[in-house]
C-alpha cells in the first residue's frame, strides 16, 4: 500500500534531477573504461607479448590498460560529485517533508507534538540519504561494469558472452523475484526491533515501579515476548539472505563454470591462451563483482532505504498540494447584533458538548456562557475537570461535538487560523520561546510593533529586569537557558502586545512567583478587551470579576461572594488551595 509511496517519491526525485543523472551516467561510462578493456588488453598482452616472447610488447599493452585504469579512477571521483548533486536535493526535500509533517501534526486539531520527529530528522533521514546514494551507485555500477564486461567478452569471444549471459540473467531473476518478500521481512524485522525497544524502554523506565509492585515476572515476560518475536524475524531474514546468496551463486559462479566446461571445445575452435585468460578476467573481475555489489547493495542498503523512507512517509504523508484547504478563501459570516448595546458579546458559548471519544463521558455537556467586552473571568476547578479543554474550545482550536462558539458575533468554526489569531490569543502553560532576538520573540503576534511599544509592554508586565538581564531587545534568546517562569513572562508580554481583543491565559503564569503573577494579570485586566484566566492559584479567582467553577457535571458561574454561598467545591478550593490550614498563629509567615 505504502510501497508505491516509496517508489513514487524515488521516481519523482530521479526525474527532478535528470540533468545531474545524465552527468552521473556520462562519468560512469568513462569509469567503466578499464572494465571494458581489461580482458581484451590482457589477452593481447599475453598472445602478442609474453607468449610470443616479446616482453616489451606485452608490457606496452598492459601500460595502455594502466592508463585506462587511471582515467577510470579520475572518473570515479567525478561520479561522486555528480552523485552529491542528485542526493542532496533529495535529502533537502525529505528534510522539508519531515519538518512540515511534524509541525502540521503537532498543530492540527487533536494532534500531539511527537518528539520522534527529531529522530526522523537526524537519524532516519541520514539513513535515507546514505542508502539512496548507495542504491544509485550500486545500480549504475552494475549496469555499466556488467555491460562493459559483456561487451568486452563479446569482442573477445562471442560464444562465451552468449554462454555467460544466461546464468547471469537467471541469477538476477531469482533475486528480483525474491526482493518484494525481502522488503516485507526486512520491514517486519525493523518493526520488531522498534517494538522491543519501546517495550523495554517503558519497562525499564518504570523499573522502580515494577519492583514496588512485585510485577517483575509479569513485566519481564511481556518484554521477553518481543525478544522472541525479533528472533523469529531475524531467522526469516537469514533465510532471505540464503536465497540472496543462492541467486548470487547462480549469476556469479555459473558463468565461470560454463566457461570451464566449454574451454577445451573453444580452444579446438582456435581460442588462444590470451583469450581464455581475458575471458576469465571479464567473468571473474567484471561480471561476478558487479553482480555481487548489486545483490548485496540492493539486499542490504536498498531494503533499509525502502523501509526507512516508508517509515518517514507514513508519518509525514506527501501532499502534492501544499496549500491548506479552501477555508482561507471564505469570509467569516457575521450574525445580526445580539447585545443590548447593539454590539455582539465578546464571547458567546452556546450548548457546548465535548468528550474525548464517542463512548466517553463528556467533559462538558450543553454548556453555555456569555462574556461582554472588558469582562474578566477566572475558571477554577480540580485538575482533570476540563479547564484546558474549555480554553481550547473557546479559542476554536478544538471543534466541539455539539454547540457553537462565537467571538464578537463570528462563529470560530468558520474562520481560518490566521484570521482567528487576530480575534483572540491563547497563552498555554508551556510557553513558546524560540532561538532569535528578544524583539523577534515579542513581535511574534504583532510584527509591526515598534521598539517603543515593546519597551512599554516590558515595563507594564514587570519584565524589565528579565530584559535587562538578557541584554535588551536586540539580545539573542536561547530558550534552553531560560527558566520556565522566564519563558512564561516572555510569552505573556507577547500576548499582551497582540492585537486580539480576547485573551485566554491557560495556566500561563503558573511558574511565575505570586507577586509577578498579580502584576501580569493586572496588566491584562487593564488591557482593552476581554480576559479569561484558567486559574492555577485561587488568588487569580479573587482578582476576577466573575468566576466559573468546573467540577463534574454542573459548572457554576458567579462572583466570589455568590460562589462562596452556592458552590461547595468553590469553598473547598478557596479553603485549602495553597497551603492552607496552618495550626498555629504563625499564619503571617505564609504568603496569601
Amino acid at each position: 500500500m505504502s510501497r508505491p509511496g516509496v517508489r513514487r517519491v524515488t521516481w519523482r526525485a530521479l526525474r527532478a534531477s535528470r540533468r545531474e543523472l545524465a552527468g552521473l551516467g556520462g562519468w560512469s561510462l568513462v569509469e567503466s573504461l578499464p572494465a571494458l578493456l581489461a580482458g581484451y588488453l590482457v589477452a593481447r598482452a599475453v598472445d602478442e607479448g609474453f607468449l610470443a616472447g616479446r616482453l616489451l610488447n606485452g608490457l606496452a599493452w598492459l601500460g595502455v590498460l594502466a592508463v585506462a585504469v587511471l582515467v577510470g579512477a579520475a572518473a570515479t571521483g567525478r561520479t561522486y560529485r555528480s552523485l552529491g548533486a542528485v542526493v542532496e536535493p533529495f535529502r533537502d526535500e525529505v528534510a522539508a517533508q519531515v519538518i512540515r509533517g511534524a509541525l502540521r501534526d503537532a498543530t492540527r486539531t487533536g494532534g500531539r507534538p511527537d518528539s520522534a520527529a527529531v529522530t526522523r530528522l537526524t537519524h532516519q533521514m541520514e539513513i535515507v540519504r546514505d542508502t539512496f546514494a548507495g542504491l544509485l551507485m550500486v545500480t549504475r555500477g552494475f549496469l555499466f561494469s556488467a555491460g562493459a564486461a559483456l561487451l568486452g567478452l563479446l569482442a573477445l569471444a562471442p560464444v562465451v558472452a552468449a554462454l555467460a549471459v544466461a546464468p547471469l540473467v537467471a541469477g538476477l531473476v531469482v533475486f528480483l523475484a525474491a526482493l518484494p518478500a525481502m522488503v516485507t521481512h526486512q520491514r517486519a524485522y525493523v518493526r520488531a526491533g522498534e517494538q522491543l525497544g519501546q517495550s523495554a524502554a517503558t519497562a525499564l523506565a518504570g523499573h522502580r515501579d515494577v519492583l514496588a509492585c512485585g510485577a517483575q515476572t509479569r513485566v519481564a515476560a511481556e518484554v521477553a515476548r518481543w525478544v522472541s518475536a525479533q528472533a523469529a524475524a531475524e531467522r526469516v531474514l537469514a533465510r532471505m539472505a540464503a536465497i540472496r546468496s543462492l541467486s548470487l551463486g547462480i549469476g556469479g559462479w555459473l558463468p565461470l563454470l560454463v566457461l570451464m566446461v566449454a574451454a577445451p571445445w573453444l580452444v579446438e575452435r582456435g581460442l588462444t591462451a590470451g583469450a581464455v585468460l581475458g575471458a576469465l578476467i571479464y567473468v571473474s573481475t567484471g561480471l561476478q563483482p558487479a553482480l555481487h555489489t548489486l545483490v548485496q547493495g540492493l539486499g542490504g542498503g536498498g531494503l533499509r532505504y525502502a523501509v526507512t523512507l516508508e517509515n518517514i512517509l507514513r508519518t509525514c504523508p506527501v501532499s502534492d498540494d501544499q496549500r491548506p484547504p479552501a477555508l482561507a478563501a471564505r469570509m467569516p459570516r457575521r450574525r445580526p447584533p445580539a447585545g443590548p448595546a447593539g454590539r455582539p458579546p465578546a464571547l458567546e458559548v452556546r450548548g457546548l458538548t465535548f468528550g474525548y471519544g464517542p463512548h466517553a463521558r463528556p467533559v462538558l455537556q450543553n454548556f453555555s456562557l456569555t462574556l461582554v467586552d472588558r469582562d474578566h473571568l477566572a475558571v477554577v476547578g480540580p485538575s482533570g475537570a476540563g479547564k484546558s479543554t474549555l480554553a481550547a474550545l473557546m479559542a476554536g482550536l478544538v471543534p466541539p461535538q455539539a454547540g457553537t462558539v462565537h467571538l464578537a458575533g463570528t462563529r470560530v468554526a468558520e474562520v481560518e487560523p490566521a484570521a482567528l489569531a487576530r480575534m483572540r490569543v491563547l497563552v498555554p502553560q508551556e510557553a513558546y520561546v524560540f532561538t532569535g532576538s528578544l524583539a523577534d520573540n515579542l513581535r511574534y503576534l504583532r510584527p509591526d510593533a515598534d521598539d517603543h511599544t515593546l519597551e512599554v509592554a516590558l515595563d507594564t508586565l514587570g519584565a524589565r529586569p528579565l530584559a535587562t538581564r538578557l541584554g535588551g531587545l536586540g539580545a539573542p534568546v536561547a530558550p534552553a537557558l531560560l527558566s520556565a517562569g522566564e519563558r512564561q513572562l516572555i510569552a505573556a508580554v507577547r500576548a499582551w502586545l497582540a492585537p486580539a481583543p480576547l485573551v485566554v491565559l491557560d495556566e500561563a503564569t503558573c511558574h511565575l512567583d505570586p507577586v509577578l503573577e498579580a502584576t501580569v494579570e493586572a496588566a491584562f485586566a487593564r488591557r482593552p478587551g476581554t480576559l479569561v484566566v484558567i486559574a492555577h492559584r485561587i488568588s487569580s479567582a479573587l482578582r476576577a470579576a466573575r468566576v466559573l467553577v468546573l467540577d463534574g457535571d454542573e459548572p457554576v458561574v458567579g462572583t466570589h461572594e455568590q460562589l462562596m454561598a452556592r458552590s461547595a467545591t468553590y469553598r473547598v478550593l478557596v479553603g485549602c488551595w495553597d497551603d492552607p490550614v496552618v495550626p498555629s498563629p504563625a499564619v503571617s509567615t505564609r504568603q496569601r
Partner: protein
C-alpha cells in the same frame, strides 16, 4: 579492569550459546575457505589442460569446487543468521531477568536509554560473537593462503602483492581522517535544524493558536541551504578520496599480471599458472576488506563487555519467611545508606511506626526522605541497620509476601501496561489486573482503587474508559499521580506515599486523604510530604535533617520550632 575479563567470559559463553549453528558455521566456512584456495589452482590446471588438450579431470574438479562454494555461501548465511538470532535472544532474556532481579539503586546509575541500548543494541552486537569469531578466523585464510600460494608459485609475485597491499592500507587511512572532519560541519547544521524543530514542537499549542505553522516551517527550514552546502562538500571530499583509492586495487592486479607476464616469457610459468596467479592476486587484494571483519569482532567484544557490566551487578537476595499475622508495624533500627561517593544519606535512623498509624516524613530537600521511603519497603537494602515489618526483617521475607503487604506511590509514577486498567492492576494478581472478559468496565479491585484515588471520573471520560491504551492517553501530572496512587492501594499492610500527591490541587488531595483514611483502616501509612496540611493530618511527623531523625512528634508540637517551620518554606518565591 576485571570487568573486561568478565566480558570476555560472556563472549565465550555467547559463542557457545549459538550451539550447533556456530559449530556448523565453522565447518561450512572452513570448507568454503579450502575450496576458495583450491579453485585458482584447479582453474589454472584446467586452462593448461584445455590449451594442451590434456585431461578434463581438472575442469571437472574446478566445477565441483564452484558448486561447493555456492552451497557454502548459502549455508553460511543460514547458519550465521540462525546462530546469531539464538545467541542474541538468549542473552537478552538473561539480561532482562537480571535487570529485574537487581535493586533500584543499580538501575538508577544508568539512564533508561543506556539500559535499553544495552538490551537492544549491544546484546545484538554480542550475539554476533559466534559469527564474528568464526568468520574473522576463516576469512583471513583465503587472502593469507593466496599470498603463500603466490610466493610458492613465484616469490616475486608474492612480494609484488605485499608491497601493493601496504600502499592500499596507507591510502585507506588517509580517507578515514578526511571524511570524519568533513561530516562534523554537516552534523552541526543538522543539529541546529533539529533543535529549532524541537523548539517549535514544544510550542505547538501557541503556534496552533497563532496560526503560524507556515512561518514556523520557514524558520526551521532556513538553515537548509547551509546543510546542502555542507552535504555537497562531503561528497566532494569523498570524490577526491575515492579517485585516489579506486586506482590502487586494479593497478595492484595489473602489476601482478606484468610480473607474471615476464615469468611467462621466461618460461617459469604456464598460461594456466598465470590464470591462477591473477586470481590469487585478486583474492589477496581482498585482505584489506577482510581486516574490516575484525571490526565485527571488536564490536562484539565491546557489546559483550557492556552487557556483562550489568550482569555482574549482584541480584537482590530473596528471603523465604512468610509474614506472621499483624497490622503493618514498621521498625527501623540504625538504618544507614551511603551515596556512591560514600557520603551518608541516612545516618543511623531509628524509627517505629505503630500498626495502623500514619507517619509523615518531612525535611528539607536532600534530607533523606525518599531514601527512607525506599528502604522502608525494600526497594533496596540499607547499607547498615535493619528494617522489620511485623517483626520480620525485610531481607528474610518472601518476595511475593513482601509485595502483597507493601505498596508504593511516587511523586512521578511510571505507568506500565497496555491499558489504563493494566496500569492500575500492576500490583494485583493477574486475574484482577487484566480487563474483564465480559462487558463490565473493570474488575472490582481496579474500580475500587480508582475510586479511592479520585481518578474514576477522569478514566470514565477517556475514549475507551479503563480499556483506553496508555499510549493514547495524554495524562497531566496530577492524573498520573492519581493512577499511581490507585495502583498502590492493592497493598495489605503498609502504604508508602513518596510525595505522591505533590501535583494535585488541594481539593483533590483532600478527597484522596479522606478516602484513604476512611477505608484503609488497619493499614500503616508512611507519607513523605512537603505540605503542612498533610503533616498536620498525620498521627506523627518524622522530621529528617541531614540524614538523621531530628524529631518524632505530632505536627502541632514540632511547629513551635522555627527550624521545623522553615522546612515548609518554599526555596524561592516561585510556585
Amino acid at each position: 579492569m576485571p570487568t573486561f575479563a568478565v566480558g570476555d567470559r560472556l563472549l565465550r559463553q555467547t559463542v557457545l550459546a549459538g550451539g550447533g549453528w556456530t559449530a556448523g558455521l565453522a565447518a561450512v566456512a572452513l570448507l568454503g575457505a579450502a575450496a576458495e584456495l583450491l579453485l585458482p589452482a584447479a582453474l589454472g590446471r584446467a586452462v593448461d589442460a584445455a590449451l594442451d588438450g590434456g585431461s578434463a579431470w581438472w575442469a571437472v574438479s574446478a566445477c565441483a569446487l564452484v558448486v561447493v562454494l555456492i552451497c557454502v555461501d548459502t549455508l553460511t548465511d543460514l547458519a550465521s543468521g540462525f546462530g546469531a538470532a539464538r545467541a542474541t535472544a538468549g542473552l537478552r532474556r538473561r539480561l532482562l531477568r537480571h535487570l529485574f532481579a537487581v535493586d533500584v539503586r543499580v538501575t538508577c546509575r544508568h539512564p533508561v536509554g543506556d539500559l535499553v541500548g544495552r538490551l537492544v543494541g549491544q546484546a545484538a552486537d554480542a550475539g554476533q560473537a559466534g559469527n564474528a569469531v568464526v568468520l574473522a578466523i576463516v576469512a583471513v585464510l583465503p587472502p593469507l593462503g593466496s599470498v603463500v600460494a603466490l610466493a610458492i608459485m613465484e616469490p616475486v609475485l608474492g612480494l609484488t602483492l605485499l608491497v601493493g597491499l601496504g600502499l592500499l592500507a596507507v591510502l585507506m587511512r588517509a580517507f578515514v581522517a578526511d571524511a570524519s572532519a568533513a561530516t562534523a560541519g554537516y552534523q552541526r547544521v543538522l543539529g541546529n535544524i533539529a533543535g529549532r524543530l524541537l523548539e517549535s514542537l514544544t510550542g505547538a499549542r501557541t503556534i496552533a493558536a497563532a496560526g503560524t505553522t507556515r512561518r514556523e516551517e520557514d524558520r526551521v527550514l532556513a538553515a537548509l541551504p547551509e546543510l546542502d552546502r555542507h552535504g555537497r562538500h562531503t561528497w566532494g571530499l569523498l570524490a577526491r578520496a575515492s579517485a585516489r583509492t579506486s586506482a590502487v586495487a586494479p593497478l595492484l592486479n595489473l602489476s601482478v599480471i606484468a610480473v607474471g607476464g615476464y615469468a611467462l616469457t621466461a618460461g617459469w610459468l604456464t598460461p594456466g599458472e598465470l590464470v591462477a596467479a591473477v586470481r590469487y592476486a585478486a583474492m589477496g587484494a581482498g585482505l584489506g576488506a577482510v581486516l574490516a571483519t575484525l571490526n565485527h569482532l571488536v564490536r562484539s567484544r565491546a557489546g559483550a563487555h557492556r552487557v556483562a557490566e550489568l550482569l555482574t551487578q549482584p541480584a537482590t537476595p530473596a528471603g523465604d519467611r512468610p509474614l506472621p499475622p499483624g497490622g503493618g508495624a514498621l521498625r527501623l533500627r540504625g538504618v544507614c545508606v551511603h551515596a556512591d561517593d560514600g557520603r551518608p544519606i541516612l545516618d543511623g535512623v531509628d524509627l517505629d511506626v505503630p500498626a495502623g498509624a500514619t507517619v509523615a516524613v518531612v525535611g528539607a530537600s536532600g534530607a533523606g526522605k525518599s531514601t527512607l521511603a525506599a528502604v522502608a519497603g525494600r526497594l533496596y537494602d540499607p547499607d547498615g541497620g535493619e528494617v522489620r515489618l511485623d517483626g520480620v526483617p525485610l531481607r528474610d521475607l518472601d518476595a511475593a509476601a513482601l509485595r502483597r503487604a507493601v505498596g508504593y506511590a511516587f511523586d512521578r509514577p511510571v505507568l506500565i501496561g497496555a491499558t489504563v486498567h493494566d496500569a492500575i492492576g500492576l500490583a494485583l494478581p493477574v486475574d484482577a489486573a487484566a480487563p474483564p472478559a465480559d462487558r463490565s468496565p473493570a474488575t472490582p479491585e481496579v474500580l475500587r482503587a480508582a475510586r479511592m484515588a479520585a481518578v474514576a471520573d477522569v478514566i470514565e471520560r477517556l475514549p475507551s474508559g479503563y480499556r483506553t491504551p496508555l499510549v493514547d492517553t495524554p495524562l497531566s501530572g496530577g492524573e498520573n499521580q492519581r493512577l499511581g496512587l490507585a495502583r498502590a492501594f492493592a497493598a495489605e499492610r503498609l502504604l508508602i506515599l513518596d510525595d505522591a500527591t505533590s501535583s494535585l490541587d488541594t481539593a483533590t488531595e483532600h478527597r484522596i486523604t479522606e478516602a484513604v483514611l476512611g477505608s484503609a483502616g488497619g493499614r500503616t501509612r508512611l507519607v513523605v510530604t512537603h505540605r503542612t496540611a498533610a503533616a498536620a493530618a498525620a498521627d506523627l511527623v518524622a522530621w529528617l535533617d541531614g540524614g538523621r531523625l531530628r524529631g518524632l512528634a505530632p505536627h502541632r508540637q514540632l511547629w513551635a520550632d522555627p527550624d521545623y517551620r522553615a522546612v515548609f518554606q518554599p526555596a524561592d518565591g516561585g510556585s
